[in-house]
């Protein structure tokens, strides 16, 4: 593996250049020469399959770039280091590197790039560290909102919402959906906006909070684009079905209306599983009569058929 040997040689050379030594009258490291060597060594290590050393090379290259005040390149190198860490499975380092890379982008005045870096980091961490992943998604969304680039935000929002729904954080998922809808409003994407509002209603109903669902629905009806859309009528039909308090009616409504299949994939899955939770209670919250069958509901939400 002469790539690995060459990389090793470059690495040692670069390390020598960066350590202060009195012999060569060098009190601070010579990062200008060392940084490209580190980058090249990192690339060779990666090709040779030695991920640990590749990661280390990229980290040092990033420090070098930072010393030279080139935040953009430093961030790029940190991202490469984070990718190597992800292949290795060192999740804490993945999180740190992606977060720092995103911050460097932001300091350079490029919030879009920062948001992209944060989104990539969140994507990588989705399974192992859902909390950090959600945190990174939130920051990515903030950067995009600040930059006004709502057009690019769609993908990030969708990934964030999918992640929150998988993690079953209903309140956060609804908040993110409403933010997405506000962003779509700014960029004029009416279809996505209406789907986001319907999605919010479905998520609340799935979580069993009929009151919150109703209040969110009322709020969103204030938006003109939504109040005359098919999605609003579908939500209305769903609420009527809930008021009747019968599971069969609810499932019928969801199946018949093609709109429920057109909303975001994760949320469509939730819609198909409706109704969840204590149906009689929710129906009464919405002003219905708790269902004509009025089957008693036990604590676990199962029907008491005795």
């Amino acid at each position: 593996m002469d790539r690995s040997k060459e990389a090793d040689k470059l690495y040692k050379e670069a390390v020598k250049l960066t350590t202060p030594s009195l012999l060569r009258l060098r009190l601070a490291g010579e990062w200008e020469q060392a940084t490209p060597m580190f980058e090249r060594a990192g690339m060779l290590f990666k090709q040779a399959g030695d991920l640990a050393r590749a990661k280390e090379c990229y980290e040092r290259a990033a420090t070098g770039q930072e010393r030279q005040r080139s935040g953009w390149h430093a961030a790029k190198n940190l991202e490469k280091a984070a990718e190597a860490a992800r292949d290795m499975g060192a999740w804490q380092e993945v999180e740190d590197h992606y977060a720092r890379a995103a911050e460097l982008f932001a300091e350079e005045g490029r919030p879009t790039a920062a948001a992209e870096a944060a989104a990539r980091g969140a994507r990588a961490l989705e399974e192992r560290r859902p909390e950090s992943s959600q945190q990174l998604y939130r920051r990515a969304v903030e950067w995009l909102e600040e930059d006004g680039k709502d057009a690019l935000a769609g993908d990030v929002f969708r990934q964030a919402i999918a992640q929150l729904v998988r993690a079953e954080k209903w309140g956060d998922a609804v908040a993110m959906l409403l933010r997405f809808a506000a962003s779509c409003d700014a960029s004029g994407a009416r279809n996505s906006q209406c789907k986001a509002y319907l999605g919010a209603v479905v998520v609340w109903l799935y979580a069993g909070k009929a009151n919150d669902a109703w209040v969110t629905y009322q709020d969103s009806l204030g938006v003109d684009a939504f109040s005359s859309s098919d999605e609003a009528f579908a939500a209305d039909a769903l609420f009527d079905a809930y008021r009747s308090g019968e599971a069969a009616v609810i499932q019928e409504t969801v199946k018949r209306n093609a709109i429920f299949t057109n909303i975001d994939n994760q949320i469509a899955r939730l819609a198909r599983k409706l109704p969840q939770g204590e149906l009689a209670v929710m129906s009464r919250q919405l002003g219905g009569d708790g269902g004509s069958a009025a089957v008693g509901v036990t604590a676990e939400g199962e029907e008491d058929l005795t």
Binding site: G109, V174, A182, S220
Partner: protein, 268 residues
């Protein structure tokens, strides 16, 4: 160029420098009664909530309003579920508490809870979805009976009884209607899908439009820079080709050839 991140970093740095002059942070520590501390903290947060609710009321953009209201409701629910029970628990503890004091404290907590619930969170009267198009078409085609055309036939009761023909006709009609309904439903689902596809394409194209405009601008900048560089390069090349350098080149070439020839004859 103003950048929010810059402003944020600088303001944080400035705050750190002058933190010791911040009276707000100091006054809260005065009381050594943990219950009153907690109460004051929660009261501060309730005030924040109230301020936010007022801001939201002034917000014109409905979509933003919906999103902010949801956040407000979430914070309210969190305060009601966590902070108030915590305060109630703390009211009962603490040294030197008499039953009257405990009652007084619980009264304060109750007041706080009511003030939290009083924060407006945008819940108004029930709304219903409405279709966007203006009013229904004018009602026309009233039924009129023209007495001049009435003939004697409709008087007899036989006229309205079913015959075989009419029965068959009616059945045919209902079958045809059922078939037509089925086909129409098929068309409806197909149209629904088409609408969905069309709307999705619309949004994608809008997004691409924005992206392409950006790429366009960047390409303009790059082309300009390339042109400047080209001009500079052509300038350099013409300078390099001037006659003086040519002559120097030829002379040096001759000298090298002469040396080579000399060495050749010398070594032969």
């Amino acid at each position: 160029m103003a950048n929010v991140t810059d402003v944020l970093l600088r303001s944080q740095a400035i705050y750190k420098k002058y933190e010791k002059y911040d009276t707000n942070a100091a006054t809260r520590e005065k009381t050594d009664d943990p219950f009153m501390d907690e109460l004051n903290m929660v009261a501060d947060r309730v005030q924040d909530l109230q301020l936010r609710s007022d801001e939201i009321a002034n917000e014109k953009n409905r979509a933003l309003k919906a999103a902010l209201n949801a956040e407000l409701r979430k914070t309210k629910a969190m305060l009601l579920e966590q902070a108030i029970p915590l305060l109630e628990k703390m009211a009962k503890k603490g040294k030197g508490q008499t039953p009257e004091k405990i009652q007084a404290r619980l009264g304060l907590v109750e007041e706080l809870r009511q003030s939290i619930e009083a924060v407006a969170d945008g819940v108004t009267s029930a709304r219903k979805p409405q279709r966007a198009f203006t009013g229904s078409p004018a009602r026309g085609g009233e039924l009129t009976i023209n007495p001049a055309e009435v003939d004697g036939r409709s008087g007899s009761t036989d006229y309205y009884k079913h015959t075989d023909d009419t029965r068959a006709f009616q059945q045919e009609w209902s079958e045809a209607k059922a078939r037509q309904d089925q086909q129409l439903e098929g068309i409806e689902t197909g149209l629904g899908h088409l609408k969905e596809i069309g709307a999705a394409m619309n949004e994608e194209l809008q997004r691409h439009d924005i992206l392409i405009t950006e790429v366009d601008e960047k390409m303009d900048k790059v082309t300009k820079e390339l042109q400047t560089n080209n001009m500079r390069l052509t300038g350099l090349v013409t300078k390099m080709r001037s006659t003086r350098n040519f002559i120097v080149d030829i002379v040096l070439l001759c000298i090298i050839l002469a040396i080579g020839l000399y060495l050749y004859t010398f070594l032969k």
